[in-house]
Symmetry: C2
Subunit: 314 residues, 2 copies
């Protein structure tokens, strides 16, 4: 009885695991992060750091997991650091802001946006997943230094993972923005819908996407965004995979959905073009998904996953 | 080919539609809300209002959709109002804060928390869904009056649906907090896992739940929260349904997941008890899901949906 619930005809048991940023082996111990743990970690030789300047990660010799001596020259803001978890051998991982400008960089140091680290394949697997968590929490801390309710300063709580207003005592928790991203297929299942934003690589098309709004189910968000962006009405919606997207702290919720009409009427304020693509066109485009002249989102992007899995559907 | 993707063996094609707060027929026109539309709506006789004092909805003769004259006595803060959408006949819906205390209430007026309106069955369907959106946006506006980055005041944008810092010009968008809620079933599929929080009705148990963290897939959030709260390791995870939950602006993501062990070691800081329930026990409990002595979450709650659909699985 149990097994029928989990049987899937999709090409992968858990396609989320095949997206970039999704693998993260840190033990988050989310209920047990506290100030004492953070202070202890700050004193331990086993602790390693992710350091960010204006949202860009400090990279040393190609690595983002750094020692105290790596980051100490750049005035790390330990008062607003956060403990993000522990490795299997008990070493803590801390995310912290540093004060560093591009022109202070030496040969073996770089400041790189998480998006660049991902798209240039500089890290993979667990290293990329830990970076995503560290970058998201760092971005959230920097955007929560003051209380949105009363404007007073906030102070760290829970080992830096939460904050609290120093005046009205309102608690502040990390923010994660759910976004739906959807592969829309026509009623015959032969074609899928993609659009291109003006900021895309010049030949690239991708699946439509948009923020889930307050008071909306995942399925309704898929239907609303698709209708608003393309004029296509959507019937059935199937969840397929999710992906953490640390620019700055998004949860991509990937769905496959069924078009009820075919005539496109796209929103020209959002999109430069929007059209149907055959399976053959998609297969060709997925083979050209790297570099500046790519035709599709790169491997690791959940849009790539949706497209590839549609082609490979059992 | 298309059809196999959307075939489901679940008891409902789209169980999300069967959850409370999920039906909302307003046309959100999310890309086209602006100051002009808001000003026009504020002048129109066709516009109706949702009004909130400290997060509680103003209810007049059992209704939450009010006219200008209904709310005018209570100093509505139109400067920080937001247009949430339009009805099919073009009437705008606006959410706005009012200044009203309990002791000012007259016979036909009440101030009610959205949770009470839901649990007491005062509204249903579309009326409940519109209220959810209005309450969530109102709560978000009240918690975004100041910029979290620099502490300066924010000002409304996009017809009140977005805000912007008056000093650093940082944009602020509505917040939606994704939460996973999961029915964990044992390997035989005969029993499911439920726990009880100290604040539950005295006999009630429900499915486990927790916030998705930054840098985490939906499936990993299910595994982490279940392990942390109950000591149960989780294998396969299947998305089942979602539900908007306007206390204050949550997206509940309901999953069914498979336990890999049976020995429970629950977190006594979070839970008062956690145990396995047979199908017979669950069926009995679902029949007693109303009132203060209820045994299970009420109809409309996504936890109720997960439990009922597990029993009814094809």
């Amino acid at each position: 009885m149990s097994s029928s619930i989990f049987e899937t005809n999709s090409p992968h048991d858990e396609p989320s695991q095949l997206t970039a940023f999704s693998i993260n082996t840190l033990d988050r111990r989310s209920e047990h992060r506290n100030e004492g743990e953070l202070q202890e970690a700050l004193k331990s030789d086993n602790t390693r750091y992710f350091a960010f300047a204006q949202g860009n990660a400090l990279v040393k010799n190609g690595q983002t997991i750094l020692t105290l001596s790596d980051i100490e020259p750049f005035e790390p803001d330990f008062e607003n650091a956060a403990i993000i978890g522990w490795t299997h051998d008990g070493g803590a991982r801390i995310t912290v802001s540093i004060d560093l400008e591009e022109d202070q960089l030496k040969d073996d140091l770089q400041l790189l946006n998480p998006r660049t680290i991902y798209s240039d394949d500089l890290l993979e697997g667990d290293l990329l997943g830990q970076l995503a968590q560290a970058a998201s929490i760092n971005a959230w801390i920097n955007s929560t230094m003051f209380c949105g309710k009363c404007g007073a300063k906030t102070m760290p709580k829970a080992g830096g993972y939460n904050r609290q207003c120093t005046s009205c005592e309102r608690p502040h928790f990390p923010r994660t923005d759910p976004v739906v991203i959807m592969l829309i297929i026509d009623e015959e299942g032969d074609r899928c819908l993609m659009g291109r934003s003006p900021h895309f690589a010049t030949q690239m098309y991708s699946t439509l996407a948009g923020f889930v709004e307050p008071g909306e189910t995942i399925e309704d968000a898929v239907r609303r965004e698709t209708l608003e962006e393309s004029g296509i009405k959507v019937g059935r919606v199937r969840y397929h995979a999710s992906q953490p997207w640390p620019m700055p702290h998004t949860l991509m919720i990937g769905c496959i959905a069924e078009a009820l009409n075919t005539e496109i009427n796209y929103d020209s304020e959002e999109l430069e073009d929007c059209r149907w693509f055959s399976r053959e066109e998609v297969a060709h485009r997925l083979q050209h998904s790297e570099g500046d002249d790519r035709l599709s989102p790169p491997k690791g992007a959940i849009a790539h996953r949706l497209l590839q899995d549609w082609l490979d559907w059992r």
